[in-house]
């Protein structure tokens, strides 16, 4: 076990170094900072003597308008109920997670097809620690990013007198676990595929399905219809990290901590199940030298 942990640590360190040398990371962080600035400024500009008037700034008006028309008034109100931070977080968090997960799915698939990962697994460990090292890298950067965002928002709130609500930090916690579950799907996809592009295609397809289901579940509907598609959708939702993430956000909003913990637990469970599935799949599928 110690040997595995040691190797995971080494590979993860190399992964982290590799990511730190990638310009995409810095572009995303810079983009996040710039967006945060404009988001806060826009929000402040929308504040009147009688509260928030989103119609005063085109972007916020557009966002709230789209939110209201697609997801209903409550969704729009909830998004800005405590200030601009939740909205800003969602906008800057998803591209980062998408980048990490795409990079994981593609790199793992690519390293399998080019024989890079075989070089490591010919050694003292099997492929599972190799997969786990990617998860460690993703956890490291996701945590780091969330930490950075929290500091940034706290600083932003101190300067502007806006509030980073305690519930935001709880949302950040569930967002972290949601991200890890999503990233685990990237790892699972790479264990199914024999090269980077196939792995990426599998991953993006599954995320797209989950995303469409998620958006669909938030949208206003006129009738419940039970048909094979909705049943499949409901079944698939059980595996969707977005589903539990949304549920955790709602639980935070309602102050229902038990449900929040259950949702976070569900996300951890998904991650664990995916990693176990990856482990067994890689044993069944094996890797060609």
């Amino acid at each position: 076990m110690n040997e595995k942990v040691r190797v995971i640590g080494i590979i993860a360190r190399t992964r982290i170094k590799e990511t730190l040398l990638n310009p995409a990371l810095y572009v995303l962080i810079t983009g996040a900072l710039v967006f945060t600035y404009y988001s806060l400024v826009d929000f402040i500009n929308a504040i009147d003597s009688d509260g928030l008037n989103l119609a005063k700034t085109p972007i916020l008006e557009l966002v709230s308008g789209l939110m209201t028309s697609f997801f209903g008034r409550t969704a729009s109100e909830n998004l800005f109920a405590h200030g601009p931070f939740l909205f800003t977080f969602i906008v800057i968090f998803f591209p980062f997670i998408l980048y990490l997960s795409i990079s994981t799915a593609f790199k793992l698939g690519n390293e399998k097809s080019t024989g890079a990962c075989q070089l490591v697994i010919f050694g003292p460990v099997n492929i599972t620690p190799y997969y786990l090292s990617f998860l460690i890298r993703d956890i490291f950067f996701t945590l780091g990013y969330i930490f950075l965002v929290c500091i940034l928002f706290t600083a932003g709130s101190l300067v502007t007198n806006m509030v980073v609500d305690p519930t935001f930090f709880l949302s950040a916690v569930s967002s972290f676990f949601m991200a890890i579950a999503l990233l685990s799907y990237g790892i699972l996809a790479s264990s199914l595929a024999s090269n980077g592009f196939t792995s990426l295609s599998i991953y993006l397809s599954s995320v797209a399905v989950f995303f469409v289901l998620y958006i669909g579940s938030l949208m206003t509907i006129s009738e419940y219809t039970i048909n094979p598609a909705t049943v499949i959708g409901l079944v698939l939702q059980v595996f969707s990290p977005f589903f539990y993430w949304q549920a955790s956000l709602t639980a935070v909003e309602h102050g229902n901590w038990l449900v929040f913990l259950l949702d976070v637990f569900a996300l951890v469970l998904i991650t664990s199940v995916l990693m176990v599935a990856t482990h067994f799949l890689s044993r069944i599928r094996s890797i060609k030298v």
């Binding site: 590799e18 040398l21 075989q118 010919f122 099997n126 030298v289």
Partner: protein, 317 residues
């Protein structure tokens, strides 16, 4: 060092490796031969633990090997047939080796890396990104990587494929030098010429079955029944062809422009005999070359008949 017992791998209904029994002894250079698709890579994958055998057993260093005994693999150095391209592009050769040294817990990693780089003449390029290396340099880097943990056995898959003559010589010398230091080496290849020069013993695998496992000379005698000498001559009189055909070790002569292709029916090097004969006839041989058939070509001649031959030989043995 490595022993397989009735090793079998099936992919659905297809039998990739069929009851394979190999035995690689300490200190020997062992050639593992077979045409593409014969089952060499599948066998090596099972030995390295990236494929699970359907049936049979593998013994590494006297111990029965299972996937959980990853520690046993640590004693094996592997040089795959191709170097990973398009990954770790940011790494210098030193960083690359250092990464593997950490994984394999190499003591005094820095010194060992420097030493091995020096050995193969890559020391001055250690801080260069290895993606800019030539094929030969990459192959040497790959061998260094495999040698880092000082393995008991080195498994090399097609180690000289794609290398230029200078690169081939360098790699060959490295293999010979490592073997002289007592390291066992398993070379999987389909190039008979190189195997012939390096290996002590050879196993031939075809369609997943072990056709033969013997020393090099005996294998060659069995496998290569017809050898060919090519001679470029300034002109070829018709009588010359007939006269050469009458030589007792000649099977048949073909002419292509000013090249004579002489099929020899024994194992002796007959280049001198043929050249002297042409001189005596007042002609000057411009180029003379014994054409060594590659294993690939040799296996083209494998038929059910000579498969039976191998099988018989195995039974007699």
């Amino acid at each position: 060092m490595i022993r397989t017992k009735d090793l079998t791998k099936k992919f659905g209904g297809y039998v990739a490796v069929d009851n394979l029994n190999l035995n690689i002894k300490p200190g020997e250079t062992y050639g593992f031969l077979g045409p593409n698709g014969a089952g060499k890579t599948t066998t090596i994958s099972m030995i390295l633990g990236t494929l699970t055998p359907t049936e049979g057993e593998i013994f590494l260093f006297g111990e029965k090997y299972t996937l959980n005994k990853a520690g046993l693999r640590k004693r094996i150095g592997v040089v795959p047939d191709k170097h990973p391209v398009g990954v770790w592009t940011w790494m210098t050769a030193f960083e690359y080796l250092n990464f593997f040294a950490s994984i394999f817990e190499v003591k005094d990693a820095g010194k060992r890396i420097e030493f091995l780089l020096e050995q193969v003449g890559l020391h001055e390029f250690r801080n260069r990104r290895f993606t800019s290396y030539s094929r030969g340099m990459l192959q040497k880097l790959s061998i260094i990587r495999a040698l880092l943990p000082n393995p008991d056995i080195l498994i090399m898959d097609e180690p000289i494929t794609g290398l230029d003559p200078f690169g081939i010589k360098q790699v060959r010398d490295l293999i010979v030098a490592e073997n002289r230091e007592g390291r066992s080496i398993l070379i999987s290849s389909h190039q008979l010429s190189e195997i012939e020069k390096i290996c002590h013993r050879v196993a031939i695998i075809f369609r997943g079955k072990l056709l033969a496992e013997d020393n090099m000379d005996r294998i060659l005698k069995t496998l290569v029944r017809h050898r060919e000498i090519e001679i470029d001559v300034e002109k070829i009189p018709k009588t010359l062809i007939r006269q050469i055909e009458k030589m007792k070790f000649v099977n048949k002569v073909k002419v292509e422009d000013l090249t004579l292709k002489i099929e020899i029916n024994d194992d002796t090097d007959r280049r001198r005999d043929v050249a002297e004969f042409i001189f005596k006839k007042g002609l000057i041989p411009l180029r003379i070359q014994e054409k060594n058939p590659s294993l690939e070509e040799a296996f083209m001649t494998i038929t059910n008949e000579n498969m039976a031959l191998f099988t018989r030989k195995g039974a007699q043995k």
